[in-house]
Every structure is written in structure tokens, then in C-alpha cells.
Assembly symmetry: C2
Homo-oligomer: 155 residues x 2
Amino acid sequence: MQVQIFLRGAEILQISSRFTIAVHILECIRYFEGEASITSEFLSGSIGVNAVIIRRIISQLKSAGLVKVGRGRIGVLSARNLDDVTLYDVYSAVEAVSSGGLFHFHPNPNPKCPVGKNIHALLDDTLRKIQRSFEDRMRSVTLKDLQSVTVDITE
Amino acid sequence: MQVQIFLRGAEILQISSRFTIAVHILECIRYFEGEASITSEFLSGSIGVNAVIIRRIISQLKSAGLVKVGRGRIGVLSARNLDDVTLYDVYSAVEAVSSGGLFHFHPNPNPKCPVGKNIHALLDDTLRKIQRSFEDRMRSVTLKDLQSVTVDITE
DNA sequence: GATAATGTAACACAAAATATTACAGGAGGA
DNA sequence: TCCTCCTGTAATATTTTGTGTTACATTATC
């Protein structure tokens, strides 16, 4: 049996670390804004990730309207009240999930097979709903909520 | 801003297609069992994916107790009533999510930074609950449910 | 005007997913 | 029994995605 043996490595499918990095960035802004100039280099130090990566993610957060960036020696600033930003706001800012969905469908089911012909009809709607539910759950948590250790997400 | 320009390609993070392939395999068994010898070659034809990939996934489904495989000219058979198999059963059979979670955390937050020090305390519990909720949603759908076009997953 | 930071290209590298080839070994049928 | 078909799985290649690194033009503040 030994399934693990021929599965090379972890085989983990995950939401990219861009998401937790983005939350980390926003939390740094919440903590340091007004106190320090929050540059990509500064953030790189707290997050432990290359400054260019940070800048890319900041660009995405900026496109999503969450932060604004001054050139020169300003650093990153909040563009709205970050208390109200939800995890979904962050997630959708940094993951291009829109274009494909959370699930990856095998691309060539055989239309000549009675099962292959119907597999999309069978699954698409349900998978879409599951994804939607996942996103709604992320919408229900704001950055402010994270501060209270026991967030009430019904488990 | 043209975020897309410097994001190479799709940047999509997805549940591997092993999941939909596995559902496809099980649906083929539900449809063809008793009618035809369901070999990896046969499935490869319906699914449009290499037969070796199919065999690996079948091995995982077998480990999970969903199917059994005869050697020789038998092919794949159901090992239990597939009507009752949930999407989570399939998902957990083919994704090694257990070892890392759905979310990928950046591995080196700086413990000397007041934010970096607390980022795990801030996020871990909430992310775990979101993942749990995602999995529960998959648990609520069986293969039989898929047959009725309008599955009642509260949206 | 000097300095420091961003925006982003270009490229390198690592990790994961999938494809392909190959073949040993078991089961069933002739 | 022997042949054939199919599985199990190794080895390897290819593709895709994510991340790291270097570089530099641009722009805002000091």
C-alpha cells in the first residue's frame, strides 16, 4: 500500500503564503502607523520575506484599496479603516482565485463517455457553492476580530 | 497599476485536480460497475488523464477504503456503497492537507518584532476554524446528492 | 540636488503537479 | 500451463507556480 512512498514530498495544496504575509503587513500598519515609516525593508524584517515580494503584495493591497503608498521616505499607510477589513478582502486582493476557482478541474473529460459528458454538470454547481461558503466565512472575520482571541466563528 | 503585468501567469491556488479526477473515477464505478471491466486504461479514456496518474489516485482511494482493485482483468470495484461517500471522503483520500492545512503560513516571522511575535497567535485559531468549516461543507455532500441537480447546500 | 524608497522587469531557483516510459508480478482465461 | 492483461510503482521529464534576487528608472521628501 504505502501511498506515501510514491507521493513525492508533501503534496500540500494551500492558499499561498501571500495571504498571511498580507495580513502581517496590515497588522504592522495597524501597529506602527504614525510611529514609524513602514517601508518594504522594514516589513521584510518583521515578516522574514524578501522586500521585493513585500512590494508586490503591497501593490496588490493598494489595487484593492486597502493601503496607499508614498514615494520617497513615506512608506505604506492605511487607505481606509483597517479594523473593518475582512480576511476575504485580503484574500481576494492577493489571490487570483476569481479566474479559476478554488477547485482545479481536469481539463479533458471525454464527451463521448456518458460519465465524462456529465461530470461538469454533476460537480460545477456544488463546488461553486462550497467555494462561496468558504469565502463567506472569510468575509465574516475582520482584522479587528482577530484581536479578540476567541473569535466567534461557529465551528 | 497593472498588477497583472508582473504576476506571471495565473497565480491560481487550487485544490489539485486529483480531487475531481477521483470523483470522476467513483462516478464511473457507479455507472459502469457490473457492465464493464473498469481498468485504469478505460478510466484514462473517460477522464482524459494518463493511466498511471489514474492508478495512483486509485491507490489512494483504495487506502481510504472506497474502492478495491482486482489484479488481472478485473479492474476497479466499489468497496462500499458509493452513494454515501462524501466529497470530504474523496478530498481527504487524495489531498495530504492534514500535514499543513489549507493555508500556507510564511515560515519566518521575526520574534523580535511585536507584530511578528504575535502573528501566529492572531491567526492560527481563526484559520483553523475556516478550514474546518470548509471541510464540514464537503462532508455534507454525498455522491448521491450530486445526482440531484439542485443540491441543498445553504448558500 | 542628494537621498531613500517605490515599481517593476528580468532572471534564477525551488517545489509541486502531472506526464511518460518501463517493467516486475499476479490473475484469469485459453 | 502458458499467455495475456492489468496493477503497482520506480525513475525521470516537463510544466506550472511560488519565491528570491539583482537591477534600475522614477519620484518624493529632506
